[in-house]
Amino acid sequence: MNKISIPIGPHHPLLKEPLSMNIEITGEKVLGGSLRLGYVHRGIEKMATQRTYVQDVHLIERICGICSHIHTTTFCNAVETLLGIEVPPRGLYIRALMCELERVHSHLLWLGILAKHVGLDTVFMHAWHDRELVLDIMEGISGGRVSHAANQIGGVRFDISDKQAEMINVNLVKLKQQVSGVLDVIENEPALQARTQGVAPVSAELIKDYCVVGPVARASGVDVDMRRDDPWSPYDKLDVKVITRPEGDAWARTLIRVLETRESLRLCKILVEDMPDGPVSVWASRKVPEGEVVTRSEAPRGEVVYYVRSDGSDKPARLKVRTPTLPVLSLLPVQLSAIHVADIPVVLAGIDLCVACADR
């Protein structure tokens, strides 16, 4: 059979964001593929050096739509370390609450996309219907559904009143009930298992060679999670259960995110209940003393690394962002060899792409 090259992207129903792939197939078997990034490259790292730290918090929130809060959190953690200030505990709890809510939001969104690609349109609609509850909670406390602007250097921008805390609790209970229906379907649906089991298995050695992080790494048995392994308060007090699976195929990647959603909902409840009283932020000076710092966090897709260097002025001398989708994308051409054409959507969904993150 002849070799044909299918272009996927930059515009394709499979992709939420532009990415260009050329996949070579013969018949229904995929031989391999090549990747081209850069369609959403905005030059954020360079722009950040030309804006003050306060402006940069807003700039960095726009690196990605789904994991916006975790980016600003990591950046604020870095700058606060350089400034030598400590965010009060209540502020840290609110930050962590928004992080976990964002994780739930991200996984529900991913779940809908996976279901749509496999043909389970009904699950897609139900998952995104439940996602609206999370967005309602986030809007209730921060004023924005997707762009929250929750962080500022020194703490968070808003406080949670008792009435809002009650609203969060009520919505969390509702969410847990509704989401368990969808999650149970995913865990037990035989058609989905048939489509994902044994597809594109990745060994732990390959994960280590390509420095992959996040749920993709945990699905191959590599036990790493920044919430447990490089925690910032209050994660060091929370007992985060890190879920790994040994199989490394698309089914393992699916199951891990489902279980992580349940775990995040549990953490949200604890964070709201145990929230200490007090102020939510401290004053931070505009000029940051000289220094360099590296901070890490666990975004919904894996390890986020920020390197910030300050030269004593109010603008950073260097900002380096490494988002989790980048190493996962470097593994993609390897995953694309020796699968069926019909498995391409399953593989892409299992990676949970966030191209805006990778391109910056």
Binding site: L37, G38, H41, G43, K46, M47, Q50, T81, L82, K208, D209, Y210, C211, V212, D223, V224, M226, R228, D229, D230, V242, G291, E292, V293, V294, T295, R296, E303, V305, Y307, R309, A317, R318, K320, R322, L326, P327, L329, S330, L331, D359, R360
Partner: protein, 159 residues
């Protein structure tokens, strides 16, 4: 495998295994950094991997920095992350400095395929050339980009 991860132990081991000239660079908070000569990079990485089990490369940061009074260099920081045990993770970095007029360094992708994307980004943004790899195609910039490395070139600005 050495259980107790200590910067002095690591530097000692590197010096005994490779005989290279390395010193601690104390200025980076949260990451223990070792400054090494550029040509010893692969050997030091081998020591880290074989003796200490440090293999996960988080990223490669590049920046232009004034080292002394009027001398600038391109600094590459290879950030590694090491998991001592679940719950105890540390950052370890290797720092190399390259002269501005000839920023060449050996590529590490034959040992660590995951470094490919990071090297490509450093190459296109800072003009560093990685020897020992077939090609260094552009990662984020368009193929027709003519203005030189954005972080070094003065042609590129906010307007």
């Amino acid at each position: 495998m050495v259980n107790e991860l200590n910067l002095e132990t690591i530097i000692e081991k590197i010096q005994t295994e490779t005989g290279c000239d390395c010193e601690a660079y104390p200025n980076i908070t949260n990451d223990e950094t070792i400054l090494i000569p550029a040509d010893q990079l692969q050997m030091v990485m081998a020591v880290l991997r074989d003796q200490f089990g440090i293999y996960h490369l988080s990223t490669i940061t590049a920046q232009e920095r004034d080292i002394e009074a009027d001398q600038s260099a391109i600094e590459l920081i290879y950030h590694f992350f090491y998991l001592n045990q679940p719950g105890d993770g540390r950052g370890i970095s290797l720092m190399v400095r390259l002269p501005l007029d000839k920023p060449n360094i050996a590529s590490i992708i034959s040992h660590l395929p995951g470094a490919d994307f990071y090297e490509r980004e450093v190459a296109e943004m800072f003009g560093v050339s990685f020897t020992g790899r077939e090609a260094t195609p552009k990662l984020l910039l368009p193929d027709e980009w003519e203005h030189g490395p954005p972080f070094i070139s003065s042609e590129v600005s906010d307007e």
